[in-house]
């Protein structure tokens, strides 16, 4: 089947910007990212439904071959409703997080935080360096090739 390139590009841009925003720390940005992403996916469903056509109503003398595929539209409708609920829940959670912490940042995973603390504390390990930490001169001497960055 032939595909409308405009729709493909629109979906790709929406999904791309959505993914970018979802990688942010702030929950409200994640939320905006989710909305963009889900709209991108909805456009993808329109691509999946094939070419545009007449309204899919059963009327005498109308050829079903000329009609648009109604199923993806129904799926998109369901997806929109679910996204609405998710958006409301995420907003509530961002608000609660703001009440509790004064911000709505996504917090570190406990295990991640432990590993990060370990890495910060560990001066002997040669495999890990964090900018502005530890004895810089000694580190530079140990790893001259990394000094440029």
């Amino acid at each position: 089947m032939s595909v409308s390139l405009t729709l493909v590009v629109t979906a790709a841009v929406l999904v791309g910007t959505g993914v970018y925003l979802m990688l942010e720390r702030s929950l409200t940005r994640v939320l905006v990212g989710l909305v963009l992403l889900s709209n991108g996916v909805n456009v993808a469903f329109l691509i999946a439904s094939g070419r545009a056509g007449e309204a899919p109503l059963v009327v005498d003398g109308r050829d079903p071959a000329d009609m648009a595929d109604p199923l993806p539209q129904a799926l998109v409708l369901t997806a929109i409703v679910i996204t609405l609920g998710t958006t409301a829940f995420l907003l509530a959670m961002a608000h609660r997080s703001w009440q509790l912490n004064g911000n709505d940042d996504v917090q570190d995973d406990i295990e991640d935080a432990t590993i990060r603390r370990l890495a910060l504390a560990d001066d002997v390990s040669e495999g890990y360096e964090i900018e502005g930490h530890g004895d810089d001169d000694a580190d530079a001497a140990d790893h001259p090739e990394e000094d440029r960055g």
Binding site: M22, L27, V30, L34, L37, S38, V41, A44, F45, I47, A48, S49, L71, P72, L75, T78, A79, I82, G85, T86, F89, L90, M93, R96, S97, L100, N101, V106, Q107, D109, I110, E111, T114, R117, L118, A121, D122
Partner: protein, 579 residues
């Protein structure tokens, strides 16, 4: 025909739960009535699931196409052998968890678990899980995932405390990403084959070019692997589950990941039977097993330890699916049934421990075997079962999978067999360590050890042994290494050291079991309604051992059905499916 009446039962587990959820919400002002509604609904779901299991085994898959449409237009609900077994096990488990949470709710006075919201949400969760098992339609599967996920978002952040909101955020965002991936996969599948009915997809998938079907398979596998917590998509799980209330963690651990495993099993066997990705699945299974269990060993909190073993044992099921032989699939199905009951009962027992000892941190506990022998027995049996000690069901499941692996004979399958033996041994190590610390030593020893732990910023390499009498006359040394303190087999990280420091601080409200016992601040007895469901579920897990033979026969038949595909296809599509 008798089967006509039985197919009408197929949508009931979903319908009853949803109606019950509505009724429970309407009755939120009357807790007694609300409880009755939930218990009645879940008990009837157990009965219906039992009837469906017998019907599916005797008469083949029970199918109903909703709205009286022909299959392909309407949404099909299918209860074949696999779905009926999953439905029955999940119904039993959810009923036990609900009864347990009733017992817990009475003691906790709704402080962190507002019962008025809990019951309707729990029933929606059950509806979602049942619908996922029964669904014969890809989009309907998506909707049921959303139902159970939404309920799980609410249950996980119940009460909105700081820890739960933190853990809930990660859980919600990860699942949103997987939902979006699922929608993209559905759009791609629809664009490729023009239908969403699983049976029709299965027939048309054969005619697609290989690369197209490979892309679709990868999309679906990634989606379901996030839900099933298959490594490397498992990292969200151990962080989000432990903060929820005990019954919620129990039902999540038992059911939600298994829904993902079920979806992988269904898609792999029905839609992609000639899957070229079995090697990928086997590698993922190996990584899941080993990395999960290594995480479990490093934990110093029972809930977190169990969450990691949950991840690692998902690997066994993926191992069975990856083998793609009748024996492998049968082992995987048996293991899913075994693991749902065992993991749920372990988390319920951990809830008992938390109620009795005031904490689940190994640092703060000791002597539970003497203090609460019933809890000791209730923890010991499923813990040994999890590790696969003969003759319990975990052993049967693991042996089944290993035999399937040996029968397969490829070097990768043999590596997997070795990996699963190793994982099983390490599981034994992890639970034995927990047993030794939480149940065996005395509270005094635990307190002495906590008191001897150094401050987090103190980095002395080897420390004097803790005071108090060590068992067997041996005094374990403490070794401080890379921010962790090792004492015998136990490892305590920064957070534990902080908490040990808080214990030594008299002003602090945090107290360990020894201090709590001295102050007489703990409940002497737990409510029977909390202990009985946990005990009953442990009983069910032993029952699985007892009926292991017949159950394995059943899963063998289910696996053959899955491989042949015709029972499912012809039940859904009629003659068209026989092509």
């Amino acid at each position: 025909m008798t089967s006509l009446g039985l197919t009408a039962l197929v949508p009931l587990p979903v319908l009853l739960s949803l109606l019950g959820a509505g009724a429970a919400l309407a009755l939120s002002g009357k807790p007694a009535l609300q409880r009755t509604v939930s218990v009645v609904v879940l008990s009837s779901v157990v009965v219906i699931a039992g009837v469906l299991l017998v019907a599916a085994d005797r008469e083949g898959p029970q199918v109903i196409t909703l709205g009286g449409w022909p299959a392909g237009l309407g949404i099909s609900l299918v209860a074949d052998r696999l779905a009926a077994l999953m439905l029955l096990v999940s119904a039993i488990v959810t009923l036990a968890v609900l009864l347990y949470s009733l017992g817990q709710g009475i003691t906790e006075e709704d402080r962190e678990a507002p019962v008025s919201i809990y019951h309707p949400t729990f029933l929606v969760l059950v509806a979602g899980v049942s619908n996922a098992f029964l669904s014969g339609d890809l989009f309907n599967l998506f909707v049921s995932f959303e139902m159970l996920l939404f309920a799980s978002y609410v249950l996980l952040t119940l009460g909105g405390t700081a820890a739960r909101v933190r853990a809930g955020t990660i859980y919600v965002v990860v699942n949103l990403v997987s939902s979006m991936l699922f929608l993209i996969s559905i759009a791609a599948v629809y664009a490729a084959v023009g239908t969403l009915n699983l049976a029709q997809i299965a027939l048309r998938m054969d005619q697609l070019p290989d690369d197209v079907s490979l892309v679709l398979q990868l999309l679906l596998l990634v989606t379901f692997s996030i839900k099933a917590a298959v490594f490397p998509l498992s990292l969200w799980l151990p962080d989000s589950y432990p903060t929820a209330p005990a019954p919620v963690t129990a039902v999540f651990a038992g059911l939600l990941t298994k829904v993902g495993v079920y979806a992988i099993l269904r898609i792999q066997t029905l839609v992609f039977p000639d899957s070229p990705l079995t090697d990928l699945l086997l590698w993922a299974a190996l990584a899941t097993m080993l990395i999960g269990i290594l995480g479990a060993i490093a934990q110093s909190d029972i809930k977190r330890m169990l969450s990691f073993t949950l991840v690692s044992h998902i690997g066994y099921m993926i191992f069975g699916i990856g083998l793609a032989s009748a024996a492998g699939l049968s082992g995987a199905i048996f293991y899913v049934a075994h693991h749902i009951t065992i993991q749920t009962s372990l988390f319920l027992v951990v809830g008992l421990i938390e109620a009795r000892a005031g904490s689940t941190a190994l640092l703060r506990m000791g002597g539970l075997a003497r203090l609460a022998p019933v809890i000791g027995v209730l923890f010991f049996i499923p813990a040994m079962n999890l590790a696969g000690i003969p003759p319990m069901s975990g052993f049967i499941g693991k042996v089944g999978l290993m035999q399937a692996g040996l029968a397969d004979g490829s070097w990768l399958a043999l590596v997997l067999v070795a990996g699963s033996v190793l994982c099983s041994l390490l599981t034994l190590y992890a639970v034995a360590k927990t047993w030794g610390l939480a149940f065996w030593r005395s509270p005094e020893q635990a307190h002495a050890m906590a008191a001897a732990l150094p401050d987090p910023d103190d980095t002395t390499a080897v420390l004097p042994a803790p005071g108090g009498e060590a068992p067997g006359g041996e005094r374990p040394t403490m070794v401080h290494h890379r921010g962790h303190v090792h004492v015998g087999p136990a490892t305590f990280g920064d957070r534990d050291l902080e908490s040990a420091r808080a214990l030594r601080d008299d002003d602090d409200a945090a107290r360990d079991l020894f201090q709590l016992l001295e102050a007489d601040a703990l409940p002497k007895r737990l409510p029977a309604l909390m202990v009985a469901p946990a005990a009953a579920l442990v009983g069910v897990s032993l029952l699985i051992t007892l009926v292991g033979g017949p159950l394995y026969g059943y899963t063998d038949r289910a696996a053959v059905d899955l491989l042949e595909r015709t029972p499912y296809l012809s039940a859904v599509l009629g003659d068209e499916g026989n092509r």
